[in-house]
Point group: C2
Chain length 224, copies 2
């Protein structure tokens, strides 16, 4: 039997140009709680589960973030992100890539560390509706990335073996989570991380954006 | 004679937490001219001279940007950046680092690819006044980074040999320009680029931010 590739996509920074808005929204939330944090440190944590992100940031900065404050920060982030939704558009090639996979009968699923609300903003930019596609959000699993739960749930949803899945992501956390469940990580530069960061976290290959992945898909996916 | 180190600083992303606002301001300007460009591509060009940045972007995207449109984009960027100036603060350790150098009698100069207007916004965040310090801006030289003109002018202003200067910067363009004039490039992660990108562009050492540089200054600078 030839292996048959199925594809799991991260959403933010992988299919939509939304990482920088996500950074700005976290910055606004943290500022409003008087937690001073440089933008680059926030950027490097995007794509993690929100809870784990706050835990890591509090460890790095030595600040204590109570569960109540974490809830407040998360709500403020969601509000601020919503206010920026008009800026969020599909990355070049994202829509074409998904359509091509669907036409060729390749199964795909979107697995995001964000909740349904945040995901909906990004899906709108892709002209997709949550209920028409395979979608796993933070609300479906116990732990977000870099735990592999989201990707395992995505494979289960598609009824395929996780070992046959490509995980397409822009963040180190996607690549680590992919490696942790024996999926194959493929990095994209479109979230603003460097090729080296993604490769060091286990990416087999790194492409610029969804368009570039579409042009090189045969390098990493089985032919249907 | 022991070599005596003088220090040339980039400004945006090196002393102030302003790269992400700079990216947002360019995005706003480009959107207003209907030039679609993903945020990560803009981010990777920050720190270049504005003119060269537009030239490079137009080459990469295949779009033609006329000199008139370039002027309009540059003006819109300056406006948008000014609107975001309330968000711009000093990076951790920036003020302490400059004060320490001054106290120890180490000469320093700020050399930025931005014009005087943009520089003033960042200097305000550092509680510095353009006329009280050694400052070289885009307006003082023929070419911005990655040409070495800004750094050569900075060394001249301090009346020191460029070979004895450290160039502290967060962008690949700072490191390339430093190497091109035989200064020693020291990278900071605070602009959101990866250690690997900076090292591949010639950084001798890479630190997290000005605070981390202050803590490790003896690794790279002569003792006064």
């Amino acid at each position: 039997m030839r292996p048959q590739t199925s594809i799991i996509f991260d959403l933010d920074g992988t299919l939509t140009d939304s990482v920088y808005q996500n950074v700005a929204a976290w910055k606004e939330a943290l500022d409003s709680e008087n937690i001073p944090l440089a933008m680059w440190r926030i950027h490097r944590k995007i794509g993690m589960s929100g809870g784990l992100m706050l835990k890591t940031l509090s460890r790095e900065t030595g600040l204590t973030i109570s569960p109540e404050q974490a809830k407040k920060l998360s709500d403020k982030h969601a509000q601020a992100y919503e206010a920026l939704q008009g800026q969020i558009i599909a990355l070049p090639g994202a829509v074409e890539l998904l359509n091509t996979l669907t036409e060729e009968g390749v199964q795909w699923c979107i697995a995001t560390s964000g909740g349904v609300d945040t995901a909906s903003i990004n899906l709108k930019a892709l002209k997709l509706n949550a209920k028409d596609i395979n979608l796993i959000t933070r609300d479906d699993v116990k732990y977000g990335k870099p735990d592999p739960d989201l990707f395992l749930a995505a494979a289960q949803k598609m009824d395929v073996a996780i070992e046959e899945c490509l995980v397409i992501g822009d963040a180190v956390w996607d690549m680590l989570a992919a490696r942790r469940c024996k999926a194959t990580g493929i990095g994209l530069l479109s979230g603003g991380y460097d090729r080296g960061e993604l490769e060091r976290a286990g990416a087999l290959r790194v492409y610029e954006d969804p368009l570039s992945l579409l042009h090189h898909l045969d390098e990493v996916a089985s032919r249907p």
